[in-house]
């Protein structure tokens, strides 16, 4: 076995021994690292899922353009083809009179009085419509105005935007605020997490202060002194990542009922679970990075470089 390999094994063994031997200190450091990691990842996942929930809600916003009852279906479809190309418009769906009646009945869910009322009327009182979805909530105003003032205007009975205007603009500002807040909070938490971990590991290094001096005097190179602690940092990172992963899943499970159906048809738990193959490696990477870089920096003052 060549000398590099021997060195690696020796320092690995040292690192492992340090990790196991230090009992309480290791436990404390891993806990601190785990808490920081948990806060950071929780914020990130919350941010991502909140974003998804909001986009879902956004998707449900639309503007309905109702046509006068004497307008021909072909005319409406012609208009649909025309406006579907507008840059602001994401999609246009045609809802015929019959379909509108169907939807209404489904909504009513076999409500006695509704069915009776319909019977009495005899004919379908509902109007055909185009359901328009925009790319961004801010664009509904433009779309509504331009359709209202367009050549199709005389055939339009009403545009269902004015009623929703307040809700849409409020939703837009909520979405923007949540995104901004999430980003700021996220950055703050990442910063705090890193600081806390760094200090915890500095403490560990301080506990080894005497040993560093001895190792230097006996003629150990800087790398030889460092390596066991880099390995130790890796162990801390792995241990915390596993703990945090379990903690995240448990938290998600608890939060699942609150978020049912809001995230792509599932809840926050199924989201986390199905994305485990991204979340776990990310945790491992970040945990190990945090553990080893902190150790690397913290040890410098004892190496008298």
């Amino acid at each position: 076995m060549n000398i590099k390999k021997i060195k690696l094994i020796r320092t690995f063994q040292e690192g492992l021994d340090n990790f196991r031997r230090n009992g309480w200190l290791s436990f404390a450091t891993v806990s601190v690292l785990a808490i920081s990691l948990y806060i950071i990842s929780f914020t990130v996942i919350l941010g991502i899922t909140a974003n998804m929930v909001l986009k879902n809600i956004q998707d449900k916003i639309n503007v309905s353009v109702y046509f006068n009852s004497d307008v021909e279906e072909s005319y409406i479809l012609e208009m649909k083809d025309k406006i579907v190309g507008y840059p602001e418009i994401k999609s246009v769906d045609y809802v015929s009179k019959d379909q509108a009646l169907d939807n209404f009945r489904k909504l009513g869910d076999n409500n006695q009085s509704i069915n009776q009322a319909l019977e009495e009327l005899g004919e379908n009182p509902l109007l055909a419509s185009l359901v328009i979805k925009a790319n961004l909530p801010e664009q509904y105003e433009i779309i509504s105005k331009s359709i209202g003032g367009s050549v199709f205007a005389e055939n339009i009975s009403r545009i269902d935007f004015e009623d929703n205007k307040k809700a849409i603009s409020r939703l837009t500002s909520i979405i923007n605020m949540v995104e901004k807040t999430g980003l700021v909070l996220g950055i703050i938490f990442v910063f705090i997490g890193i600081l806390i971990t760094f200090n915890a590991i500095r403490l560990t290094m301080y506990a080894h202060k005497q040993e560093f001096e001895i190792m230097r005097l006996v003629g150990a190179s800087n790398l030889y002194i460092r390596m066991p602690f880099i390995f130790e940092g890796i162990f801390y990172g792995v241990a915390s990542a596993i703990i945090v992963f379990a903690a995240l899943l448990i938290t998600a499970k608890f939060m699942a009922p609150l978020t049912e159906g809001s995230i792509n048809g599932g809840d926050i738990f199924s989201f986390c679970f199905s994305n485990s193959f991204i979340i776990l490696p990310a945790l491992l990477l970040f945990g190990i990075l945090l553990g080893t870089v902190s150790g690397f920096i913290a040890i410098r003052r004892y190496l008298k470089i």
């Binding site: 021997i6 040993e211 001895i214 005097l217 003629g219 190179s221 800087n222 030889y224």
Partner: protein, 226 residues
């Protein structure tokens, strides 16, 4: 072998630890550096194993100026020197055997080398039967013997001992001194700092006396007080 040429060491705050030191030590010498506390004994030794650098002047090791050694090469230089201290400086989480082995591991010793040399050295200092004990399980004298073994394990050119018997009882003190003399008789240079009058008188070797950072006496065969 070790040469001080007009060496001075001044610490921040204008504290003069050493002043105009000129000293010449040959291979195989046994030199005792004596003087009251604060006279600069430890500082002198620190300059040899480069824990400190002189403010002016140069320290030479085998004609090589020590200030020319790059910081990253220091560990390799230090492997020529065995150090023993008053406070032992053993790694607390390792057994006596492991402490001595560590010195070899650090200089890339092979597994076979370690298995062969470490028990030998521990036997030399009389600690064969306590190899598996931890420092906290050993007496002061025993710990110092382990330190000596560690200092010897790489067959260094010089042993530097900074008040090695400072924390020891008279019996252990004698044992350690006898070991040092034995090591010296096998060719290793020994640089000893001490303010133990009795011991210095007994061994009747070269004495360098420091006072206020200056060499006031350098006698080939001498006692603590003339």
């Amino acid at each position: 072998m070790i040469r001080f040429e007009n060496v001075s060491k001044i610490y921040p705050g204008d504290f003069v630890a050493l002043e105009s030191i000129n000293l010449d030590i040959q291979q195989g010498d046994f030199v005792s550096i004596i003087g009251p506390s604060g006279s600069g004994k430890s500082t002198l030794l620190k300059l040899v194993y480069v824990e400190e650098q002189p403010t002016t002047g140069t320290v030479f090791f085998n004609d090589r100026p020590l200030d020319s050694i790059k910081t990253k090469h220091l560990p390799y230089f230090r492997r020529n020197i065995g150090t023993v201290f008053q406070d032992f400086k053993l790694l607390p989480q390792k057994t006596a055997y492991e402490n001595v082995a560590y010195a070899l591991e650090v200089s890339d010793g092979s597994v076979e080398e370690i298995k062969e040399i470490v028990p030998e050295i521990l036997d030399l200092v009389g600690m064969s039967d306590k190899m598996e004990k931890y420092p906290r399980q050993l007496s002061g004298g025993e710990q110092q013997k382990v330190c000596l073994a560690r200092a010897l394990v790489r067959k260094p050119l010089v042993i530097i001992a900074d008040e090695p018997t400072g924390n020891l009882d008279p019996n252990s003190t004698l044992e350690i001194m006898q070991l040092l003399l034995k090591i010296n008789s096998m060719g290793t240079t020994v640089l000893l700092a001490s303010h133990n009058k009795n011991i210095i008188d007994k061994i009747n070797r070269r004495v360098v006396e420091l006072n206020n950072g200056r060499v006031v006496r350098d006698n080939i065969k001498s006692k603590y007080n003339v």
